[in-house]
Symmetry: C2
Subunit: 353 residues, 2 copies
DNA sequence: CTGAAAGCGCTTACAG
DNA sequence: CTGAAAGCGCTTACAG
């Protein structure tokens, strides 16, 4: 492999000048730069990144640790995000070093990775309120970017969508269609985004003057079919009045609800409106369900470039506060939402909170 | 961060001696070594791996490139293997650098990764016959280990299971139960392991004196429900005599076949025997299906340690031929296989090859 | 058993 | 505009 020295030897230049020419320093003469570039090209020169890293103190690698619980099936979210991040980071000359953690301690894997290796930073996903990883990495002085946020006001870089608005927009649309008994089929409550959606749901329901349902059902989208049982519970009407609309935290859960409605002979949207949040992951297209789903639409893959960008900027010294971005998901009305059915206009029993 | 120099300064030793003490060189005196270890511990010394790598020429990173087709849903296989490999490599002080490739050229991603970075080697998965990655990496002189094999005799390290035996053992079991009309629901034919299973199936059928079915159906386990339609095709009997047994390349496909049999009112195993290969991925437990599945059992996660081990040995200079291992999957008989039903003893029509 | 020295390939003040 | 030199933190022949 050709080195700076080799190029310099060919041209009678010092490695220092070759380095400057290659790295675009302005003081190098145009002729010298041209010769250096030509020779580098001809010799197939590739900078030795290990040497660069030793001298710059950067590794060019960022870590991502994915936690999986022992019996969880593959999480499509993970796949989609890792694929996108890997591409976006590669475009910025950065490697994604991946570790999978099955342990109990949420920070142990980070500590291990930091001890074993030089990493310039981390990408964190699946934030929970008071996420212990935040304190750990901030104390250690290690840059990171969060996919999502642990709270509304934080002092680290993040990228995500406005999850309060996700649920709020859904409720607003349904209220405009006359719905008052709206249920929320949410993700696991330990996740920050699920709490945000519940908060947005509550706020929008209150703003519309609607009573809240007695229970908020949570179901893991990682477990196939997890939305079916709660949907049957609601829609069979055994636990009180049926909702006329259900807000689902994912298209996967919405598909379960559709199946439950079909099994109960309840037409959508004539008897039940459904709206879901849509990550736009391959495998389940909201527009191709029967009926096509009304969704709040925010493709997961759109998060990858902002995350990579923010992390690399932060590693380069940009302040955290300048690297916080929260996009609004787009509301796309399709055929799964319609006017409230006749007789469905009554609110939830007023036992709601 | 403490360096070798810092430790040496504390003890009045040279960095060279500290290095030797830390790296277990035999010539260091026990007293010196003890003092060095104690001081290193106290100062929280961690070797700078970038520096180590610059001098040794090794990076301590191995790459894995996962190809995904644009619209494929998440492949559980990928998740399981990456999780296991990440752990096994970490235990050997090696990082897994992951890239995801959506392109057409099977070697382009490898070339890019080699140009951008120092990698000690690669882990390849999903081999196809005449896999172009093999020639590319061998020409480039880059070590790799294959999960599976591209042919019976190869000159690179690999770990996998005997896929001919997987299908052969299944056929043998079914033949012992009197079955003669056995069908194979195989994986995508471009994959080497699918070809091996077909070869094993054909060989075992011939050895048992059975005619072969006219068609071998392939279905991607990455597409949910992909096995249902072919199973209905066979079991409805419209395309000729029904098979009395079906060998499935995965438990996912077997679940589809079970569903098809149920929908047609065909009892298992009284009317149909089913045997599947079982990777033991979470999410679909062969023993918990109804009826519990007879399987050839070879957990994917068992492949991770041998793969990591072989790659690291090969990087360290061990010859490829010493790093080729093919394990036999374990046949586990459960309730989905039984004696051939009355009237099912006739062979396939003799139009088979 | 230990040290001084060279070197891995690069970057970057410091001179000129 | 270019070069000589120092240094990033480590390893490893070579001496002693």
């Amino acid at each position: 492999m050709a080195t700076l020295k080799d190029i310099g030897a060919e041209l009678g230049l010092s490695p220092a000048t070759v380095s400057r020419a290659l790295n675009g320093f302005p003081e190098v003469s145009a002729r010298t730069r041209a010769k250096v570039l030509e020779t580098a090209e001809r010799l197939g020169y590739r900078p030795n990144r290990v040497a660069q890293r030793l001298v710059t103190g950067r590794s060019g690698m960022v870590g991502m640790i994915v936690r999986i619980r022992p019996d969880m099936s593959a999480d499509q979210t993970f796949f989609e995000v890792v694929a996108g991040l890997s591409a976006e980071l590669a475009a910025r000359d950065t490697d994604l070093v991946l570790a999978v953690d099955r342990g109990d301690d949420p920070v142990a894997a980070y500590r291990r990775m930091l001890e074993r290796d030089i990493l310039d930073g981390f990408i964190l996903n699946a934030p929970v309120p008071d996420d212990p990883r935040v304190a750990f990495l901030q104390t250690a002085g290690v840059p990171f970017v969060m996919h999502g946020q642990t709270a509304r006001e934080v002092d680290y870089p993040f990228y995500g969508i406005d999850n309060r608005a996700v649920a709020g927009d859904a409720v607003d649309l349904l209220c405009a269609l006359g719905h008052r008994r709206i249920a929320l089929l949410n993700a696991e409550p330990r996740l920050a985004f699920a709490r945000d959606r519940e908060a947005g749901f509550r706020a929008a329901m209150r703003a519309a003057g609607n009573a809240l349902p007695d229970i908020f059902v949570h179901a893991s989208a990682a477990i196939p079919g997890a939305g079916y049982a709660p949907a049957i519970g609601w829609l069979s009407g055994q636990a009180g009045p049926r909702p006329t609309a259900i807000v689902c935290s994912s298209t996967l859960l919405a598909a379960d609800v559709l199946r439950a409605a079909a099994d109960l002979g309840l037409p959508v949207p004539a008897g039940l409106s459904i709206i879901a949040h849509d990550d736009a992951q391959p495998g389940l297209r909201a527009a191709e369900l029967a009926p096509p789903l009304t969704v709040t639409h925010a493709p997961l893959r759109d998060a990858c470039a902002p995350l990579a960008e923010a992390l690399i900027a932060h590693i380069g010294g940009a302040p955290a506060r300048a690297l916080q971005r929260c996009d609004r998901a787009e509301l796309i009305a399709r055929a799964s939402t319609g006017r409230v059915p006749q007789g469905g206009e009554a609110p939830w029993s007023s036992t709601g909170p």
